[in-house]
């Protein structure tokens, strides 16, 4: 029997039918949707990373007594860069499963991914979402340890402290630090006192006195704004510098 006859016989006897067109169209659109979703999530991730870089205290290497270049490399938002890389990989996976995705060279796909996530992420950051995403991530276990920027503010021995103001009394505040420990902070000779109010997140530079007491020389806002409406249209640091005066 000729092959063509064998195949037609098999098709008819086994009732083989072409997969419906809608199935293929749906599958293609699903991969396109997943590709777009990876870009959108990448944008959110980018905005959190951008927030960390834009609000970095670049002079902290003085307190940490470390080399400037090493410090700059240390404070890059590696956690967010890793997540961005994961979603970049997912975007390529989905792109190359679309009907015509294979025609795009990987370099072009990577460039498009970076440009779209950067633009979208920058927009989210400008609207204050970067800080909200980063603060939400702070609730993830071990995030503080993974995030050098947060971790550096737990180096109490180097005179660095950060946390939420729990209560205020004459010349001292009670602070819940990033590790959940409570401290008594002497604020008798500190700058930035206008930032002191309950529930405020702050960064403190000073000197560790003992395991529960810290003497502050300078108090700064943690980002300062927490995405407050007033900072929109202004850079976070510009807004926070104005608050400190």
């Amino acid at each position: 029997m000729a092959l063509s006859e064998k195949i037609i016989t098999a098709i008819k006897s086994e009732h083989i039918k072409p997969t419906p067109r809608w199935h293929h169209i749906l599958k293609n659109y699903l991969f396109i949707a997943l590709y777009i979703a990876a870009i959108i999530i990448g944008g959110f991730v980018f905005s959190a990373g951008l927030f960390l870089i834009a609000n970095q205290d670049w002079n902290l290497n003085i307190y940490l007594k470390s080399n400037q270049i090493i410090f700059y490399l240390s404070v890059l938002p590696y956690f967010w860069l890793l997540i961005l890389a994961v979603f970049a990989g997912l975007s390529f996976y989905n792109l190359y499963r679309t009907k015509r995705g294979y025609k795009f060279p990987i370099i072009l796909a990577a460039a498009v991914y970076l440009i779209l996530t950067s633009l979208f992420g920058w927009g989210l950051y400008r609207f204050g979402l970067g800080v909200k995403i980063e603060q939400t991530a702070a609730k993830i276990p071990y995030y503080n340890q993974l995030n050098y920027t947060r971790g550096v503010w737990s180096k109490h021995e180097n005179g660095l402290m950060a946390g939420k103001i729990v209560s205020i009394s004459y010349n001292q505040i009670r602070l819940l630090d990033l590790d959940g420990e409570t401290w008594t902070i002497d604020i008798s000779s500190t700058t930035g006192k206008n930032l002191i109010y309950e529930e405020k997140d702050v960064k403190i530079i000073g000197e560790k006195i003992n395991s529960t007491t810290f003497k502050a020389t300078s108090i700064r806002p943690w980002c300062g704004c927490m995405g407050c409406a007033k900072h929109q249209g202004q850079s976070c640091l510009d807004h926070c510098s104005a608050l400190m005066q």
Partner: protein, 185 residues
């Protein structure tokens, strides 16, 4: 309804549309491509006749099942080759075999011409050298080279068959040719 002879004058793309209405017309596509696809499977599998014919049959059935997915911006032959290639690679993986090429006399001549090997081709050592050289190449070079040198496909067609960008296909072929030339020197 057209007579079978009239269908044979239609393009592949037209026959695909007709097949979706009348499955008997698929026989025309099978007749058009069975020799080409079988030869390609032999080149990938290394002349195992039983396996090759089974794979060919499964590939054609898969082509029929996916007819609604055929993108008319592609050539039907490129799309068909893609399905045949995937079926063959799957079979090789399932059997845990390696992709080894075996060549006909004609194919040896083709390669010898392309690489300007002027020794006599009744020289068994040269034939063995050509075969060993091709088989020693990594699969990522071997596959596009087989399609380019032996199936005489264009870069665009190879891109559609292997689902790789045209630029990547070009790089792989150039690097493969260079490696093969060094091995044959």
């Amino acid at each position: 309804m057209l007579e079978k002879q009239e269908y044979t004058l239609q393009s592949d793309e037209e026959i695909v549309k007709t097949t979706l209405v009348n499955s008997d017309c698929f026989a025309i596509l099978v007749e058009r491509y069975e020799q080409k696809f079988l030869r390609y499977i032999y080149r990938l599998l290394g002349r195992n006749e039983i396996d090759a014919e089974d794979i060919l049959q499964e590939a054609f059935i898969k082509i029929y099942q996916h007819l609604n997915d055929f993108d008319s911006s592609l050539k039907f032959s490129s799309w068909g080759y893609r399905i045949v290639r995937n079926e063959t690679i799957d079979k090789i993986r399932r059997q845990n075999k390696n992709l080894t090429v075996k060549l006909t006399e004609e194919e040896f001549i083709q390669i010898a011409d392309k690489f300007e090997l002027h020794q006599k081709l009744d020289d068994d050592l040269l034939k063995q050298k050509i075969l060993n050289s091709i088989n020693s190449l990594k699969i990522k070079y071997r596959e596009p080279l087989i399609l380019f040198l032996l199936e005489e496909k264009s870069y665009e067609e190879i891109s559609d068959i292997l689902c790789k960008p045209v630029g990547t296909v070009g790089s792989l072929i150039n690097r493969g040719k260079s490696k093969l030339k060094n091995l044959l020197a």
